[in-house]
């Protein structure tokens, strides 16, 4: 199914006079094949997900063995007695042959056993269970915030600057969002803490304790994404505004609001949703630094702590969980897109 016109505009130059016979177009595929194709695509995506998950699992297992020297020695410090190091190593099973360790590790992960912390002896799974919800809440709130603010902003900018109208708005929008995109989350965090929390005292500077403590972390996480999505929405909207069906809708003299909400918005949604998914994964990563700044009791704060303290089992477990979340989000975005947009699978095949 590679009809070249599926998402193409009419050819820029119609055939010169005199025209030969126009090429015949393949007939549209019937409903049933479409469903089957969608299913096949879904299966393929799930397989891809499983393979990536396996790679991730291997990588996180390999991490502890790739550390130069003895990780237990590194963790306990040079002053620790040899017996303690040996005892720890044995308790962790690090003295077993590698294949056996791998099987044990995978088996453990599959049954929810991520090992125990070098430092506190706490099961890593408990650490994760306690902190994961806090990280997810933050990332989801920031994603929602970003989409709610950025999509209308981007559409507005597109409509205002269509065809090079209002150069002033276009330049300001481009410069401001371009600058806002470039500033990383942790700098926003520091600035927000310094000004709004320490300077003005409007919000608590750190911790997770009541609704007010959410404001600054969510803001810090979403400002850059708002700028990014607004830019993308603007470009997508501009492209939509140039299509024939929008010209036709204009020829029908539809009111502007209806034109933009009903004819333009749904077609920009695919790109926006993809963005939303990618955004969520990038925000989950960005939250590491934001959590650190705001002492937010999430996974990000823990991963930094465990790396600096050389608590490798915790670092290993948390990285694994982060990776898995990213993979799951990507899978969901793919599946939702496949279901939503009848043409996305065609693009996939063509790609």
């Amino acid at each position: 199914m590679t009809d070249p016109r599926t998402d193409a505009r009419p050819p820029e130059t119609p055939p010169e006079i005199p025209a030969g016979a126009p090429a015949a177009r393949p007939a549209r595929t019937a409903d049933r094949t479409a469903v089957r194709r969608a299913l096949r695509m879904a299966v393929r995506r799930i397989v891809r997900f499983a393979v990536s998950l396996a790679v991730l699992l291997t990588a996180s297992f390999a991490m502890i063995h790739l550390i130069p020297g003895d990780p237990v020695r590194a963790s306990l410090g040079p002053a620790a007695p040899i017996e303690l190091v040996q005892q720890r190593t044995a308790a962790l099973g690090l003295d077993r042959p590698l294949p056996e360790q791998f099987v044990t590790y995978v088996g453990g992960v599959l049954t929810g056993d991520f090992g125990t912390s070098f430092l506190t002896g706490e099961p890593v799974s408990e650490v994760i269970a306690a902190r994961l919800p806090n990280t997810l809440t933050l990332a989801l709130l920031a994603t929602a915030m970003a989409l709610i603010v950025a999509v209308p902003l981007g559409m507005w900018a597109a409509v205002r600057t269509e065809n090079g109208r209002n150069r002033g708005t276009e330049v300001t929008f481009g410069t401001v969002t371009g600058a806002a995109v470039a500033v990383p989350e942790f700098l926003y965090s520091i600035a927000l803490v310094a000004v709004l929390a320490v300077g003005l005292g409007w919000f608590p500077p750190a911790g997770k304790d009541g609704p007010l403590t959410y404001v600054l972390p969510v803001l810090a996480l979403s400002i850059g994404s708002i700028a990014m999505i607004a830019r993308i929405t603007r470009v997508e909207t501009l492209r939509e505004l140039g299509t024939d069906y929008v010209r036709l809708a204009r020829a029908k003299r539809l009111p502007a609001l209806r034109l933009h909400l009903r004819h333009v918005l749904p077609n920009t949604l695919t790109a926006t949703l993809t963005m939303g998914g990618l955004l969520l994964t990038s925000l989950i990563a960005g939250s590491v630094l934001v959590e650190y700044v705001f002492a937010w009791p999430g996974l990000g704060q823990k991963i930094v702590e465990s790396i600096t303290q050389k608590d490798y089992p915790v670092a290993q477990g948390v990285i694994l969980v982060y990776g898995a979340i990213v993979l799951v989000v990507n899978l969901v975005v793919d599946l939702v897109l496949g279901a939503l947009d009848p043409t996305s699978e065609i693009k996939e095949v063509a790609a």
Binding site: R5, T6, P10, E12, T13, I17, P18, A19, G20, A21, P22, A24, A27, R28, V55, I67, P68, E162, N163, G164, R165, V171, G174, T175, G178, A179, A182, V183, P184, L187, I190, A191, A194, V198, G199, L238, R239, G242, T243, D244, Y245, A251, R253, L254, H263, P266, N267, T281, S282, A285, V288, L289, V293, V304, T308, A315, I319, G323, V326, L327
Partner: protein, 632 residues
């Protein structure tokens, strides 16, 4: 400047829809560089470079000067950003740290670029299996957040500057790999690579001689953007305590130290934060600019439009459905694709507007429908639809009285909305019908254009319909109101021959039933001759001949019209062979000279043709022609 048949000036529709670049006409590199973001980016990056070179020379000593009497101070006249735990001046330290921060970022970027380029170029020279493996790996890595990759690498490589640089390098690599892969795949498929392969050139040499040079430019652009990313990433790592360790310091490390004191002296953290932010902004804006400058190499000028004042003549024709006098469409850059066009149409009349692409026929249609894109200016002496001035008509009147059909039925229907919904919309919005009534009418109209199962098709999305069915649906959409005029712009060009015939038949039927006039725009004079009552031939923005369709074969007078007809295939012509066209090309709208625009291609052209433009004058009953050789 050429104006294509989609009524968009060149440089707009073809422009890559990059950030901020869409539909901007001033496209030369010079203009790109003069935009504020380019300016800000350039200044900031230049500042950073100067700082990296000169900073340690000027403030190096001050940054290390220990002052036991001024430990952990906040802002003061002597120390604008305060002092650290050894009493060293923080402003000096921030300015000095620029060199180290930039050097680390450069190192990380180079590592990432080398790693990524190798990883990305591999699949194009590896055997199939290996190529798929590497591609899969890159795809998996690209989806992975860079910071996590960096942390993973840093855990293995150990805390400190080396680990952080390696980590950021690894984090940057997948992006480079993906880019190289895409580019290399396109180059590797090129003929000269295939030729080199056949000649037995070793793979290594193909990569070095043929593939890498062709992808160098985009790679360098990405390099610039990655540098900014690496700088921010390293600052983040050091800020978390995973990067640079004392006694060394970069901006991130200063942030780390300053952040511990943020509750007491917020300015101590804000200083380095501001510099990191400025550096990030600078590199990002500059990278954007570089990318944009590369994306547009074709230039166009923007000038104010120059239009001649139109003149109206005579009284409006009360019976005409459409009356156009002296319609002119112009674009900035001295381009006037439609020049003083006049046209009158009676109810039920089918008029064909023919011409090559670029003759201005589609823009004429767009101008009548009020759809000329923004920088275009439309002027006219008179433009009346159904006896009323179009300028004074409400959206409701115009939306129901005028129906338009475009070339590509797929592009004319919104892929996200059901067919029935798109039809009923007009009735709901303009005629105040209830949704249910509107839907009933939509189904009725769809049946009217002979869709096999209108109720079902109304509930379907456009992609579920065949090309012919879609074009029928678009026509049905025009019939939702009470159209006085239907403008069909190349409605059959995208369809195959059988479907083409059916659509033409349908259009004729519709005209007979509704009494609407049909303005049929086409480059195909054969189709026009078959369908229309009257033919209007356009060349380079002007009407050159007007005549009844049945006189086309025998009575065409203008050399251009005659050439069009002569170039038509007859029954004996082999249809699979390319057809003989008219030698030469039509002048672009900005290049139409003083004389007859067709002179360069005309066999009958004389000296007079080149210096004086022939007016459109009456030449027999219902006929007008603009040609010196015919009329004098």
């Amino acid at each position: 400047m050429r104006v294509d048949d989609n009524a968009r000036p060149t440089g707009q529709s073809e422009a890559v829809p990059d950030e901020g670049g869409q539909a901007r006409k001033a496209a030369s590199r010079g203009v790109v560089w003069r935009s504020p973001s380019a300016l800000i980016g350039g200044v900031l990056v230049a500042f950073m470079v100067v700082l990296a070179i000169a900073g340690p020379l000027i403030w190096g000593e001050a940054a290390e000067r220990i002052d036991a009497g001024a430990i952990l101070q906040g802002t003061s006249a002597e120390h604008p950003l305060g002092t650290d735990n050894l009493g060293r001046d923080l402003l000096a330290r921030v300015l000095v740290a620029g060199r180290y921060s930039l050097a680390l970022a450069l190192a990380a970027t180079l590592i990432g670029a080398v790693l990524g380029t190798v990883l990305g170029a591999l699949p194009s020279v590896l055997p199939r299996r290996g190529a798929r493996l590497v591609t899969g790996l890159v795809n998996a890595l690209v989806a992975f957040p860079g910071l996590l990759l960096a942390m993973f690498t840093a855990v293995i490589a150990g805390l400190g500057a080396r680990g952080a640089v390696l980590g950021i390098g690894v984090a940057i690599a997948p992006g480079f790999a993906r880019l190289t892969q895409t580019l290399a795949a396109s180059v590797a498929g090129a003929d000269y690579v295939a030729a080199a392969r056949m000649l037995g050139v070793p793979r290594r040499r193909i990569l070095a001689r043929h593939i890498l040079p062709n992808i160098a430019e985009p790679l360098i652009l990405t390099l610039a953007q990655s540098l900014g990313g690496a700088l921010l990433g390293l600052a983040g790592m050091s800020f978390l305590g995973l990067g640079v360790q004392p006694p060394d310091f970069d901006w991130g490390r200063l942030l780390f130290d300053g952040f511990a004191r943020i509750y007491v002296h917020p300015e101590v953290a804000l200083g380095p934060a501001a510099l990191v932010a400025l550096a990030g902004i600078g590199f990002n804006l500059l990278g954007d600019t570089l990318a944009r400058a590369a994306a547009r190499s074709s230039a166009g000028r923007q000038e104010s439009a120059r239009t001649e004042p139109p003149r109206a003549e005579g009284e409006p024709d009360p019976d005409a459905v459409l009356e156009v006098r002296d319609l002119t469409v112009s674009f900035p850059g001295d381009s006037t694709p439609v020049r003083g066009l006049s046209l009158t149409m009676a109810p039920g009349e089918i008029v064909g507007l023919v011409g090559e692409s670029g003759s201005g026929k589609s823009l004429t249609a767009a101008a009548i429908g009020g759809l000329v894109p923004y920088p275009g200016t439309v002027t006219y002496g008179r433009l009346r639809l159904g006896g009323a001035d179009i300028a004074g008509m409400s959206g409701k009147e115009l939306g129901t009285a005028l129906a338009m059909v475009f070339q590509d039925p797929m592009a004319s229907l919104n892929p996200a909305l059901r067919v029935g919904g798109q039809l009923s919309e007009v009735a709901v919005v303009h005629q105040g019908m209830s949704r249910a009534d509107a839907r009933r009418r939509a189904v009725d109209r769809l049946g009217h254009v002979h869709l096999p199962d209108p109720a079902k098709q109304a509930g379907q999305h456009p992609h579920e319909l065949s090309g012919g069915m879609r074009q029928r649906a678009v026509i049905a959409m025009g019939l939702m109101g009470e159209p006085r005029l239907i403008i069909a712009d190349e409605p059959t060009t995208a369809l195959d021959v059988t479907v083409q015939r059916q659509i033409l038949k349908l259009l004729r039927e519709v005209v007979e039933e509704t009494g609407a006039a049909l303005l049929f725009i086409s480059h195909d004079i054969a189709v026009v001759g078959e369908l229309c009552d009257r033919v209007v031939v356009m060349y380079a923005g002007r009407v050159v001949e007007e005549l009844p369709a049945d006189r086309l074969a025998a009575g065409a007078a203008h050399p251009y019209t005659r050439a069009l007809i002569a170039s038509l295939p007859d029954l004996d012509t082999d249809r699979s062979r390319p057809l003989a066209g008219i030698p030469g090309t039509q002048p672009a709208p900005a290049q139409v000279g003083v004389g007859c625009a067709f002179a360069a291609r005309c066999a009958l052209a004389t000296e007079r043709c080149r210096t004086e433009r022939p007016e459109l004058v009456v030449h027999g009953p219902h006929r007008r022609v603009a040609c010196w050789e015919v009329t004098s």
